[in-house]
């Protein structure tokens, strides 16, 4: 799996602030491998299990969106850049790719989740942006030339 992503430490203290930078192939398997790597790195910085789980979920959703949408139909596997900064109170993420822009050059709204009672009408997708918006804040998207830039902040629970 090591061929699928590259990692370099931006800063290397044993606690916050801590930065990491990863470049990975835009494929589901590479996303899975990179998430495992980042989780292991962050675990060394004493983040709680709950915080690690929330971070992994938000990262999975944002990275899989790039794989499934920005690089959809791309002739060859693209690359995704991830830069993270952990302050102790939050984790800031900066995610870049050179795939297609977001539709309308804006972030998808992410439908609010509602109660469902009848299985027949349940959606089978479209949960990703709703989860990202529930678990993060300061979401921003910009298109810079051929590059998509997504930044967000994940507030972390104390302890």
């Amino acid at each position: 799996m090591s061929a699928l992503y590259r990692h370099s430490d931006a800063v290397k203290p044993a606690s916050a602030p801590y930065g990491f930078e990863v470049t990975l192939e835009a494929s589901p398997d590479a996303v899975c491998a990179a998430l495992g790597h980042i989780r292991a790195e962050l675990a060394r910085h004493r983040l709680s299990k709950e915080n690690l789980e929330v971070i992994e979920l938000v990262m999975a959703e944002t990275l899989n969106n790039v794989v499934e949408h920005a690089y959809a139909g791309a002739p060859q596997t693209g690359l995704i850049g991830v830069r993270g900064t952990y302050s102790g109170e939050d984790l800031r993420l900066r995610i870049t790719d050179i795939g297609k822009p977001m539709p309308g050059f804006t972030l998808p709204a992410g439908k609010p989740f509602k109660r469902h009672e009848i299985a027949d009408v349940l959606p089978e997708g479209g949960f990703g942006w709703g989860l990202i918006r529930l678990l993060s804040c300061d979401l921003a998207y910009s298109r810079m030339g051929d590059m998509n830039l997504l930044t967000l902040r994940i507030p972390l629970a104390a302890g």
Partner: protein, 113 residues
Amino acid sequence: MKLSTRTEGQLQIISVMEDRIDAAVARAFKEAMRDMVEHAPPGVILDLGQVSFIDSSGLGAVVATLKLLPPGSKLSLAGLTPAVDRVFRLTRMDSVFSLFPTMDAAMAGPATA
């Protein structure tokens, strides 16, 4: 995608023998479930006790499973770890699935009714 299934009385119990249901395996999960639940009894319990991570694609695959059940069958989810439980509750899917912390609770729950 490793799944195992067994029948206890009127219940079919399907155990997911993987630690993740994510974008990399969601399609395989759905296809494997399609075969397993084709002739499901009225009560089906999905044992998620080994699953430590699920993302929106995995959630979509579990929702798809619900729709693959024969009419009248109910699907309960058992043994949810905290990360999996969080995704079902944040997306309000706890309103359509019965969630149980343990297999024992699920076997005594609505799926048996």
